[in-house]
């Protein structure tokens, strides 16, 4: 057993990245767009997986960070700033917000923490909806331009897909290195047994705040890419229901498992779109109509029979260092 990723998992990660480099050549415009969305959402879910899966801190406010990142990048770009400056600014803003939201976690745990983070999400959502002078309220922010990099325009769907893929690659490898460092072990210690951890000199306050801050940072930079990807944002995708979706995606994929978000977000975002695209009656129609019910049942089934989620079911190749 190794801390962080096993050798097989590093190989799998690199293989997945190469596959993702090549796959758009087989896809139509819509498919490329969906895959870009998947990349962005996986990065955000990586963040929640770190906070919740690896460090054991429940959060029902992840969509708020995603929203703060999206609005920060959109508004800063609208104000004339380069996207490549707006991106780190959005990340840092979420990092700070993550530390602030982490403070309740120093006092309360479990369902109390769930409600505290949910409250934060509602607050952010109301701010996005009501503060029209800044956020445009329900009308949102329109015509968010895609950036260019070193004079190369990323406006095309394929070009922006590769930008999203680059984000996913950097975010994934950075997380893998973080989990393999002593920090990964400290997060696991915090999740498994905070009282024991503290008695061994592990500063559980600092690591709790770090888990929230880094998780929020991931959501923030994902949000910063989400805005130019979709081109128009309003408060609706950052409602706390989206936080529940992130939570379910992490659980279905496998909480505390490295490839959990890849699978969970695929089930959450790609599967329904694929089902919608299918034509024909009978079983297809049933699958389309009952998708959400199926997803809910899947969450239930995972919690009862496979706490490791889909990654747990895939066995050795997907197994991370967290068998429980």
């Amino acid at each position: 057993m190794t801390l962080g990723l096993s050798r097989g998992q590093w190989l799998l990660l690199s293989t997945a990245m190469i596959f993702l480099l090549l796959i758009p050549f087989n896809l139509q415009r819509f498919g490329i767009y969906m895959l870009s969305l998947w990349c962005v959402f996986v990065v955000a879910a990586h963040g929640l997986n770190l906070t919740m899966g690896y460090a054991g801190q429940i959060s029902l406010g992840h969509a708020a960070f995603f929203g703060i990142g999206a609005y920060a990048s959109a508004l800063l770009v609208k104000a004339g700033l380069s996207f490549w400056l707006a991106l780190p600014a959005a990340g840092v803003l979420c990092l700070v917000a993550g530390i602030v939201v982490g403070f309740p976690a120093l006092r309360v745990q479990h369902h109390y923490l769930a409600f505290a983070t949910l409250g934060f999400n509602v607050l952010v959502w109301l701010f996005l909806r009501n503060e029209e002078w800044l956020t445009g309220g329900n009308f949102g922010v329109r015509d968010i331009a895609r950036p260019s990099l070193f004079g190369v325009s990323l406006d095309g769907n394929l070009a922006f897909y590769y930008a999203c893929l680059a984000l996913l690659a950097v975010a994934s490898y950075a997380l893998a290195f973080l989990l393999a460092s002593p920090w990964g072990r400290a997060f696991a210690a915090l999740r498994d047994n905070p009282i024991r951890a503290e008695s061994l000199g592990i500063d559980i306050r600092a690591y709790t705040l770090a888990a929230f801050a880094i998780g929020a940072f991931y959501a923030g930079i994902a949000g910063a890419f989400f805005a130019p990807l979709v081109g128009y944002i309003d408060p609706s995708p950052f409602h706390f229901a989206q936080s529940l979706s992130f939570l379910m995606a992490v659980i279905v994929g496998g909480s505390g498992r490295f490839f959990g978000p890849y699978l969970g977000i695929a089930v959450l975002i790609l599967l329904p779109e694929w089902l919608r695209g299918l034509s024909g009656g009978g079983l297809t129609k049933i699958a389309q109509d009952w998708y959400l019910v199926g997803f809910g049942l899947m969450v239930l089934a995972m919690m009862i029979w496979s706490p490791g989620g889909l990654s747990g079911l895939f066995g050795n190749a997907f197994r991370s260092s967290k068998p429980k």
């Binding site: 920090w183 061994l200 000199g201 068998p323």
Partner: protein, 249 residues
């Protein structure tokens, strides 16, 4: 004087769990703490270790006041502990449990972000694994092991960072007699071993009389929160009040 406890009391409402207890521990000593259930042994430990704040009194470590310090600060000062119940990191491997127990003493928090995964503790962890005879399970998740093995890991973890004093809460409870003997030999060797450094000092709460009387050089007896007696194991065995407290006679 390494560790001093002065007039320590802990009150929970009308109940006085610890009443005016004073004692001191010298470097290199093994001190046993015995007493019937509910006599305040664990509460006394928790007051010393920052888990609960004492109602009155003082704790001094190396002459410095440590009363009311957080468990984190207590551990950073060089005081290790084990808990009465099992306390390992269940999902982590045995080796990772041991490294987790000492990594925070290596460099700064920011530095550990870019540090090698084992934080330079691989060799020390392996030596501890060998010493506690956990080699055959070293790579398995600690939570999957037997109670006795987890107990050994728990104790080994308390030594990883090289503390000056370790407070053990019932280390021999629930493990088989052969292992109890091995554990005693291990603790004695850790106590004797100076290796150019200071020896490890122990304070041990224990119900297993045979174990504690053979291990400890000095024994404290608590009854109803008070320090009833202290002395060598021989003196304690001959103490009439102690016999009465234990046998209720």
């Amino acid at each position: 004087m390494l560790l001093e406890v002065l007039n320590l009391s802990k009150r929970y409402g009308a109940i006085e769990a610890v009443r005016d207890v004073s004692f001191s521990v010298d470097a290199g000593e093994i001190v046993g703490v015995i007493g019937p259930n509910g006599s305040g042994k664990t509460t006394l430990f928790n007051c010393i270790l920052g888990q609960t704040a004492p109602s009155a009194g003082e704790v001094r470590f190396r002459g410095e006041r440590l009363t009311g310090a957080s468990p984190l600060r207590v551990s950073r000062q060089g005081i290790g502990r084990t808990f009465q119940s099992l306390q390992v990191f269940g999902s982590l491997g045995v080796r990772d449990n041991l490294i987790a127990a000492a990594q925070e003493f290596q460099g700064s928090m920011a530095g550990r972000l870019v540090m090698d995964s084992r934080a330079g503790l691989g060799a020390r962890a392996d030596a501890m694994i060998e010493r506690f005879r956990l080699g055959h399970v070293a790579a398995l998740p600690a939570g999957s092991l037997s109670y006795g093995q987890q107990k050994l890991i728990d104790i080994a973890m308390a030594f990883m960072a090289g503390p000056a004093v370790v407070l053990l809460d019932e280390p021999a409870a629930g493990i088989n007699p052969t292992l109890v003997e091995e554990l005693r030999a291990l603790l004695e060797s850790l106590n004797r071993e100076s290796g150019g450094e200071r020896p490890t000092t122990f304070v041990v709460i224990e119900h297993n009389m045979d174990f504690v009387m053979r291990l400890a050089q000095r024994v404290l007896v608590l009854a109803e929160g008070r320090l009833l007696a202290q002395g060598t194991p021989e003196e304690i065995r001959a103490h009439p009040e102690v016999m009465e407290a234990y046998l209720g006679g």
